[in-house]
Amino acid sequence: MRRRTLLVAGASGVGALAFTLGLGWWQSRDSLQPGSALLPLPIGKMSFTLTNHHGVTVTPSEWIGRPTMVFFGFTWCPDVCPTTLSDISLWLQDLGPDADLMNIFLVSVDPERDTPQVLADYLSNFDPRITGLTGSLAEIKRAAEEFRATFEKVPREDDYTMDHTAGVFLFRADGRFGGIIDYHEDRHVALLKIQRLLKAAS
């Protein structure tokens, strides 16, 4: 009898915890802490508006129906961003035409310098299936919050650089979060993660 009470108490405790987490999730949309372990929102719940490198307005609701790959970066970035872009270009090369079914975006965290035209020039050096997105700082901040990504302007003597989340975010065709490819992730593991999304979508 006593044991049963404990079990019930335990179960309701779990319920309360789940409720608290759920509430935390909801509230966190407006009060995200850097380094938060929370998962990105499903694409269907994202609310930002950005401009792609062709100058066309983009909202995430248009991405539903295809698997999506998103990463944050900037074109003044000399090391991490060209490396990630060439990693993605190599994955796409390996995946072949299967990857034509994906949405693939670089979201600039440096809208001051990365205009649509600047993004277009820069991305012409990589796989043409990668689309650059930029916009107002407020909308990029909103996007980062919804992805649970962070970025920060770091002043240098003459100019500045940006610290930013380095992983590649994956989403299923229905918009649910589908995992992250970490920076330095093994190429085979990265491919497996993407192929899983593509299989689920076909």
Binding site: T75, P78, D79, P82, T83, T165, Y183
Partner: protein
């Protein structure tokens, strides 16, 4: 995909062999010095190289100089909690009997204030200053923007 292959073939054939040769400085062997092509001169470039210390004395890369950059610096890319940053590295240790790589996602030379456009297939000199071994100048191969390594055909282990 075709453009990638074409770019690869072009860069392989256009990169002077010299850039892939190993330069000796005492017991240090410096090889695979490379950089990426730049769009204009506004953005910083990155410099990568492999340094092998075959000797019994620890050394350290204390600085770099090059005519293509008004302010070259040593940096280290650090990814912490998924966030990438690029702190200044005062020096890069090159311990005895070991190989150190300046490579994408790790240590790199940051070439700020470019004085010329870095064109794929060309080379430029970088002078490395070591605490113990002194100075040495190596030719740096400029590779395509999507390159991930020096692209030397005969890679040293």
């Amino acid at each position: 995909m075709k453009y990638l292959l074409t770019a690869l073939l072009l860069s392989l054939s256009a990169t002077p062999l010299l850039a892939c040769e190993t330069v000796q400085l005492g017991s240090l062997e410096i090889s695979e010095a490379w950089s990426r092509a730049s769009i204009g001169m506004a953005r910083p470039g990155a410099f990568y190289v492999t340094i092998r210390n075959t000797g019994a004395t620890d050394d350290a890369l204390a600085g770099i100089a090059t005519p293509v950059s008004g302010k070259p610096m040593l940096h280290e890319t650090v990814v912490k909690d998924g966030v990438a940053s690029m702190p200044h590295a005062p020096a890069i240790p090159v311990p005895a009997d070991s190989t150190v790589q300046l490579e994408p996602g790790g240590y790199h030379g940051m070439l700020m204030g470019l004085t010329q456009v870095l064109k794929e297939g060309e080379t430029f000199p970088v002078t490395l200053t070591f605490r113990e071994a002194g100075d040495v100048t190596v030719p740096v191969a400029i590779r395509g923007m999507g390159a991930k390594d020096a692209g030397c055909v005969d890679k040293k282990d």
